[in-house]
Symmetry: D3
Subunit: 335 residues, 6 copies
Amino acid sequence: MSRPITLFTGQWADLPFEEVARMASEWGYDGLEIACWGDHFEVDRALTEENYIRRKREVLEKHNLGCWVLSNHLLGQATCDYPIDERHRNILPPEVWGDGDPEGVRRRAADRMRDTARAAAEFGVDKVVGFTGSPIWYTVAMFPPTPDEMVQRGYQEFADRWNPILDVFDDCGVRFALEVHPTEIAYDYWTTVRALEAVGHRRALGLNFDPSHYVWQGFDPVTFLWDFRDRILHVDCKEARVRSNDGRSGLLGSHLPWGDPRRGWDFVSTGHGHVPWEDCFRTLNAIGYDGPISVEWEDAGMDRLRGAPEALEFVRNLNFTPPSTAFDAAFGSEG
Amino acid sequence: MSRPITLFTGQWADLPFEEVARMASEWGYDGLEIACWGDHFEVDRALTEENYIRRKREVLEKHNLGCWVLSNHLLGQATCDYPIDERHRNILPPEVWGDGDPEGVRRRAADRMRDTARAAAEFGVDKVVGFTGSPIWYTVAMFPPTPDEMVQRGYQEFADRWNPILDVFDDCGVRFALEVHPTEIAYDYWTTVRALEAVGHRRALGLNFDPSHYVWQGFDPVTFLWDFRDRILHVDCKEARVRSNDGRSGLLGSHLPWGDPRRGWDFVSTGHGHVPWEDCFRTLNAIGYDGPISVEWEDAGMDRLRGAPEALEFVRNLNFTPPSTAFDAAFGSEG
Amino acid sequence: MSRPITLFTGQWADLPFEEVARMASEWGYDGLEIACWGDHFEVDRALTEENYIRRKREVLEKHNLGCWVLSNHLLGQATCDYPIDERHRNILPPEVWGDGDPEGVRRRAADRMRDTARAAAEFGVDKVVGFTGSPIWYTVAMFPPTPDEMVQRGYQEFADRWNPILDVFDDCGVRFALEVHPTEIAYDYWTTVRALEAVGHRRALGLNFDPSHYVWQGFDPVTFLWDFRDRILHVDCKEARVRSNDGRSGLLGSHLPWGDPRRGWDFVSTGHGHVPWEDCFRTLNAIGYDGPISVEWEDAGMDRLRGAPEALEFVRNLNFTPPSTAFDAAFGSEG
Amino acid sequence: MSRPITLFTGQWADLPFEEVARMASEWGYDGLEIACWGDHFEVDRALTEENYIRRKREVLEKHNLGCWVLSNHLLGQATCDYPIDERHRNILPPEVWGDGDPEGVRRRAADRMRDTARAAAEFGVDKVVGFTGSPIWYTVAMFPPTPDEMVQRGYQEFADRWNPILDVFDDCGVRFALEVHPTEIAYDYWTTVRALEAVGHRRALGLNFDPSHYVWQGFDPVTFLWDFRDRILHVDCKEARVRSNDGRSGLLGSHLPWGDPRRGWDFVSTGHGHVPWEDCFRTLNAIGYDGPISVEWEDAGMDRLRGAPEALEFVRNLNFTPPSTAFDAAFGSEG
Amino acid sequence: MSRPITLFTGQWADLPFEEVARMASEWGYDGLEIACWGDHFEVDRALTEENYIRRKREVLEKHNLGCWVLSNHLLGQATCDYPIDERHRNILPPEVWGDGDPEGVRRRAADRMRDTARAAAEFGVDKVVGFTGSPIWYTVAMFPPTPDEMVQRGYQEFADRWNPILDVFDDCGVRFALEVHPTEIAYDYWTTVRALEAVGHRRALGLNFDPSHYVWQGFDPVTFLWDFRDRILHVDCKEARVRSNDGRSGLLGSHLPWGDPRRGWDFVSTGHGHVPWEDCFRTLNAIGYDGPISVEWEDAGMDRLRGAPEALEFVRNLNFTPPSTAFDAAFGSEG
Amino acid sequence: MSRPITLFTGQWADLPFEEVARMASEWGYDGLEIACWGDHFEVDRALTEENYIRRKREVLEKHNLGCWVLSNHLLGQATCDYPIDERHRNILPPEVWGDGDPEGVRRRAADRMRDTARAAAEFGVDKVVGFTGSPIWYTVAMFPPTPDEMVQRGYQEFADRWNPILDVFDDCGVRFALEVHPTEIAYDYWTTVRALEAVGHRRALGLNFDPSHYVWQGFDPVTFLWDFRDRILHVDCKEARVRSNDGRSGLLGSHLPWGDPRRGWDFVSTGHGHVPWEDCFRTLNAIGYDGPISVEWEDAGMDRLRGAPEALEFVRNLNFTPPSTAFDAAFGSEG
């Protein structure tokens, strides 16, 4: 065989779960990375409603799909983000947003992340992909001058807020796969190093490999995979395209909406950008990653109904198996 | 659907129009960008011969092809080119060449361009693609020293010769799409700026976007599309390939014939070169271009019968539709 | 001669103004770009204290230094920044910080900027360089999804807060030179376009050209100079060095302190980085900029006492005069 | 048609010849480049065993495969290599290795190469592809200081050892196609120049074009093809992939095994690397090469059963025919 | 010492020869490359006027300057250029321009070039640097389609016009050093190959190495030096600067005047551009070039009085001597 | 002050030690990195001859030079190199070469390296820079196929031969600084990792940082410094220049002698090549390296008498001191 290829349902949560399952199955996906928003996977109902989990499994089985991971980026974002504002209100369940008091939002989101671990265990998966937000991301430009103690406090706050969450993950036998991404506590190589240090490299904290966030920042996905090879819990094939040699576009994006040709980079359909996928897949083979490969599809310039099956074909083609013997073995076949 | 994909017939004018139509249709093209040479579209006959235009339309209909534009590069070239010589004689109808006296040639060519506008209107299309030639292109190297007044005179001569032509275009409700190209009054970004200024940005003068001429000169097709977005009347998917890191080949081409591997760049089958097509198509979507996409196929190293259908498939694949809603809309589907 | 070369005193404000003046003069600087912090230029005292301005001028004259501009980055930053926190407290005068209530801070800072225009006029300069902060910078990563209306509101808030400030600038005959910089309302090419639009391109808002912020974002300083040539009020020769091909360092800097070799870019002594200074100076000549060239010196890896005179020599060498006649005029001297 | 596409059997010699022939045929290959090891082509048996050659031909015919060349890299390597050690023992027939005395090994290998020419002639092909080894390759780093006379002696030794071999090739009407490759007497452009000089440019010594060895060394395959166009006897489409911008991997490979992601370059399935194949094929057309195109498939990261048919499709697609007339002929079709 | 460094007087011909000599001497130049225009060296007077040559020599001696070469670019240009127009009139002596009839101009220019060889011999130098013009340069863009016979005729015309000129050079013991340059019969590597072929590689035709014309065309000055090493008669250190990654500027220059920042490349003061001078000088050493190094100074953005001495210092610094023994000889000094 | 700058005497060993000392002192060097060949430092005499060491110190003191390290590259090379041949004979003392039997040479060289540690201690320095040779370097091209066990055996042999040598270093309180270099057991990043592992990361084995060997192999000197920051014992400022975009030159050097322009890279005078020195020096500051900076001068294209003082000036200029406080401290000086 080789690794299963799944579709992340996060960008399809405006559609009913069953419809997404049906389409993914028809396109040939092997499974889903299910988002914990929309009606795709409702953590509260999963823990309280009889048969909720069973019915989800039935949908998957009906469409011959597997599921190896849940994803809860949106709630995770709110656990230690700063500032908390209308952007969060737009993506959170009303009961988590509540009155919008920032600290209350963060605490309710943390509770819900703990529940996500519990629900994942019930659902029979041992990984949750997601975000953490960050107390210090907004200081990224280092002006006004950001004291180093402020940075240290940020990592400490992350640890203080997430250690109790990860305790529940440990209790449930589930691991959290942090997607390294701008606005998270870890958004590049060295912040990943420091975030892992902040929680003492505890086993519960792993990584979701999504290289679309690396290429425009300029660090190497293969180096990331190799150095964090024992932390890679999941892979998202999201794609980015850089266009920055025209004299005017900038890598910070100019507050321009996705899809605007003046942006210095953009998300595009997997295979249409600058992630060195072939090197990534070869390295995934080399480090022995055998979990699912998930297509996270975002492209403001292409209809998703065209993109999703095309991305599957692209990934399928790269998801090849390494050989069992060295090729130059054939040279010594003499006797 | 999306934009129609047409085949430019200019490089096929050694074949009868009907045969080209038949092949294009069989390959799956949606229509033709018809050249005004060979028997493909004869301006004089179109204006004088009863049924000429109707018979052309019938051929198109028979093969289920549309036509949205005529192209008259060769005659346009002669309208204000300098010097006029055997190269022009080779590409002009004998009655336009006449005795070969340069000024006579230019005037007859201008008359014929006016007729082209009239014939286009009769034919039911509102755009003519073409060239202009240039009184100053031959001074491009700036040696012997070229006084700036000589350059200014060149743009003025272009305006003087073309304003009367564009008057007829205006009268006919047709616009002229200048293909920015070496040897034309506009061959790069800044000469395009200046050519538009020369005619006071009159509406009749638009642009045919053919990025094959941009990549070896080193300016960016996406920037061109964005900045001239209200002038882009037509798109030609011609392709160029640059090969200039071998120490010996030069970007000016060394007077070597097309296809010679010592050249620093060459025209190749669409998709085999260095035009950033994906960025171009995304930008065409972003600026709302909804006209035809025409394959202008030139490749001295490949049989055209192989290349034309392959280029169609390549372009068809890029000619995708943008989505109707933002992808991150799905994140806020909670309530 | 040519343009005067000044030293920006902002990074030297821990030293008494007179000492900075003495050193700058000894190194050979022609003048100072005086910071409105430390004891270098105190806006409140300048407006209220008899002789304050005269004494400043005397210091300058004593050291044979000119001054063409005041700079008030720190107060400007607070006028419409978000969030307001300890970083601002560290850089603001106590009376502006007050109780730290964000809206109060912003208003007091705006008052002080108006006073800065008045003080500049009194001091005899007609330009103030500075920052604005930004209501939307912190959303730069576009996640959680940032609605376009939120971006529009940000520019509008900038206009609403700054139009009254600029009214005072107009009254005083002083112009404000915004330094395009991350965390400001304009941090790259396209945000500059939009910030100028937001205030209706009113004359009072110009630009301080500091290309150190451009090179790691990937947009071209020469293009910026050319396109905004009628807005360039002042030039800061600050320098940046990019180091992003090592597989691990990222352009966002990883929250690492200045000078850490793991950062993807850093500020360095002018001439030690990747700003294309020669092209910048040639373009400054071409657009007719004739104001001061100011060395803004920041380098966490070099002692400033070494750097400041070296930077002066570097800039002096580039600050050459263009010729009065075309070189190829000599070819036609025959008759 | 166009040139036949063959599969080099060297990396498949652990399988019986007939099985390789069957698979190659099923995948669609036009023929085989047969390796003289394993049971694929045994030079000694070919010269001594009645019907051996006829039976090989019958296998080919049964599977509708052609053969235009034999390959004997392994024996060739031993003819003038230094040092001779266990690596050679692993790839040589026991009777050639003998007691392993280096000079004896070299002489027996030379004898066998002469026999290879004879066997090739019997088999009906007029080219043998192969290696030569090198007396001086191991000094490539130039430290300890390598006297130039030592280098000269190396080329002379090559000539002394190979002229007698090439005499037999001449006698048999067969030419030897040296694969330019590290560890051979010629491993790059300038060593090829010098190796040809060493044997006085005798006709019997030609070249096997295998650009996989060029790209990581940094010289241009197209330049190689053009300058040695009258020596190109055969083409191997082997592929290499370079990955050297991560700060740590080096082009010399760090003694790491093939397929290790820390290597600076690697062999990969044809079409997955950095050889500029399109330019190579266009140049092969331009220089009139009309022999077979052989897929030499090596990829430590991909199963060969997947790779071999994919590589064929890749090469088939590039193996296009040039046109018979110039495309701009169509512009002059007027009269 | 090493090679003398001279100043080319062509761009200073608006000044009297003696003044240029005085300034060059004061700046420290070792000699002059004297232009045959202005009053610098008048070929007709040199051949007819008693003492003209002696007086020139006296000026040189007075200022302690050598001279090893005359330059006659302007007249050379007219010998086989096409078209001949006002640009030529501006740079030719009135008696050569005459009535401006093109063929008459070409013939008179050819006569004057023959005289230049004679005058050079009289003056005691054995090389003349210059241009040739070209009958086919203006067809460089290959549109309208340029038949290959037209190109061939162009080279033939060059040979027909220049062989008689070179006969006189031979008679006088003088060689002509063609400066490879756009608008000349040879403007890049491959046109140089063909121009040399056109005159049968006769010894009288050599080359003036001026790499400023190579860098924006994209071919390698070191390769040029190596391959034409037996033809390099003289060296001009002219400099070019390329700026083509801003999305809008193009390598053909947009008819914009020198010094305009929108141009894709420009001439600049030696050392301020992209010629790989260090590699060039090392290669000049390697090929044993021992003639003068001449600074040809052109920079539309810098005052020449600043540039000329700075360029001398730059070149002086590169004009270093190679060692007499190998550095690793020191490793073997043991016994 | 800052770190002392020394001259490595290895390339000057054809001259008497005292003469080198005199010249280095006159040029302004602070000290010498003394080579253990020529008469510069003779290990055997140092250990046996009374006053030898004292007299060396006197020479240094007379010329006001310091010495912090001895270098014994040549003997180190022989300790575990393979093959041993005339190249070694040329660089070894006769008594070490002896009868040239390889194993005997290796053992005598090992003895002499132990003595070098003893002599260094006597001489009062605690570091010896040098080479090790390698049992497996010659297999670097991996053809004939190199079994991984052969590679493992190579590292083991290095450990077996060097552990006893390093024991003596430990006894003497001296550390060995291996120069990572082709033909050594460690020649790039990953081989350095493995060599350190092979000896169990024992403290006695450190590194000599010489980035000239890194740039043409393509790995990053700054990454090397950072990751091995606790092993950097010494710094050699040797320089390399890469020239590999001409289509023909290759990175392996084509067996061409140093200084030949056809080579793909070469050693050049420090500051004339592609080592990113500024980044290196900044990183040396960042990791707290406070030992000597040694100019190892090799340039086959420049006279060393010119190069050595120029290199000193170049290095002196980069050897700047970092500041004691953060630059943005000045922003908070308000209260």
